[in-house]
């Protein structure tokens, strides 16, 4: 399974995310992206997209910028990391119809657990592509 991980935050959040990267990379092939302009361009060019995307919204402005990609995000399994749990932020987050929501202060174990489950499901759907993944993990 291919995933795209977008995170423009360089602080403590990045450190926590990095701590979980080995677990994530054991599950899927990860492409990392740190610039919003690159992310936008990637979505505007014809071509295949990854199966899942983890979008870490640095702040509400960045979350608002993600909404420009809403029609394309519909086609992907979106994990959204929200900057806070304020009502407006949550409402904006749900407008992207993410399949899983977590927050900046997460230890990202929840993200790993969800990715593990969907990777296992994908491998079951595609025989011969590592159907033993769930057991292994």
């Amino acid at each position: 399974m291919d995933i795209l991980l977008y995170n423009s935050d360089h602080g403590e959040l990045e450190t926590r995310l990095k701590q979980n990267m080995p677990s994530i990379e054991a599950l899927c092939s990860v492409e990392k992206c740190r610039e919003l302009s690159w992310l936008m361009r990637c979505f505007r060019e014809p071509g295949s997209l990854p199966e899942a995307i983890v979008l870490v919204a640095r702040d509400r402005e960045e979350l608002q910028a993600f909404t420009n990609l809403a029609s394309r995000l519909e086609q992907l399994f979106v994990i959204l990391v929200l900057p806070d749990a304020g009502e407006e932020t949550i409402a904006l987050g749900h407008s992207l119809c993410p399949r899983f929501i977590t927050y900046h202060d997460s230890d990202f174990q929840d993200v790993v657990a969800v990715l593990t489950r969907i990777a296992a499901r994908k491998s079951r759907e595609q025989p011969g592509s590592g159907g033993e993944l769930e057991e292994r993990l």
């Binding site: 505007r44 060019e45 014809p46 071509g47 029609s71 394309r72 086609q75 399994f77 749990a85 949550i90 409402a91 749900h94 407008s95 119809c97 993410p98 399949r99 899983f100 929501i101 927050y103 202060d105 230890d107 174990q109 929840d110 657990a113 969800v114 593990t116 489950r117 969907i118 499901r121």
Partner: protein
Amino acid sequence: MASILIIDKDHRFAESVCDTLAAMGQVPSSAHTLRQGIARAGQGDYDLILLDVCLPDGNGLEAIEQLRGLDSEPQIIIIADQGDPDGAESALHSGAWCYLEKQAILEELSLTLSRVLQYRQTLRSQRATMKAVEREQLVGESPAFLQSLELLGKAAFSDANVLLSGESGTGKEAFARAVHANSRRKQANFVVVDCAALPEQLVESVLFGHVRGAFTGADRANRGLVRHADRGTLFLDEIGELPLAMQKSFLRVLQERCFCPVGSYEEQASDFRLIAATNCDLAAMTEQGLFREDLFHRLRGIHIQLPPLRERNQDIRLLSDYFLERLSRRYGQEKKEYLTDFIEHLSAYPWPGNVRELSHAIESSFVEAVHSPLLFTQHLPLYIRTAYARSRVEQGSPPCPQVDAGEGELPAWRDARSRFEEGYLHRLLAQTQGNISEAGRVSGLSRTRLYQLLKKYQLSLSTP
């Protein structure tokens, strides 16, 4: 004032019913054979047809479906000389409103008529509402799809629980969003819960939230998705994957719209509307003890079964146009056109992945044809072309035009020439990418002759 047609072999009976109806302020007319009746019904805009069973040229019961299928969708009342229970059952199965004996008709007509007209009025306002439903991504005009849309309209204007079932890729989430977007809850959140993606240990806290310190790692309180859906819609996707223990908790929440976050005894309320979706047979799962029967019945306030794409083949062209339009807008390119055989290929494929798979196939073709204004079958994914080739062989069609029949029977000159011309035009269009000037140059044919040939074989440069 309703328009009513009486199809009855008995002229005097028909006349007397017409008089009664006219006295009620309606507009009646009559026909005395089935053929005459069907023809007249097709020309008029009738609300109701009173249909005799025994007509000189056929059985009225057998014409019910044809008459119901007319544009005005008239209601049919069967009128029989003598009551026949089997006939009455058959009439209702075919879509008749009711079955009346002629001797009782004058007494019963007035009440029945007012019910029919009242029903049609309700139906009309429901249809008007349906027209107002924002369909957005819901593309299709096939009867099976329109039936689902009609239910969507009902669901949007009520607050009942909705169960969407259908194979993967049939558009269950798009339907769920449309129900929300057309409901009074549209200003609030549409909250997606992907039951298949949630590990068992996370389900409860994700749905109901938790208080600070509820478990290791719960450094702060979380409101949970059920609370996020307050005044909005909670969409439980793949509900068949919800763990059994959780089904019990969720049933209570569904009944009371109250829940306790993990680690708390304090009840919280959430006024959410539930839409659930599944590609599983929940009825079979309840029999196997894998899904709670009480929850299953709760979910089915309105049940919308989405048809697979193979059962709405006629929508493939509309969907393809829609996807191409969307891709052109997204990538800022001119809309690409396609030739007839492009759609033929798509129509021959069984689409196990349904609309989602079609969308991917169109996108893949669009990317392949990046510099071409026309989409050719060669731009389609190989598995679709292969399926088409196989279906042609299985149907016994020749894989390519054969002018020389070799040892076999020699075709007539006219047939052989037609096959050659059609095959040649396909190749010419493919090679010149639909450019008429180029096609003229390569073939040596005049533009007029080329257009004549394209018309003859129903081919087009710009549209299939």
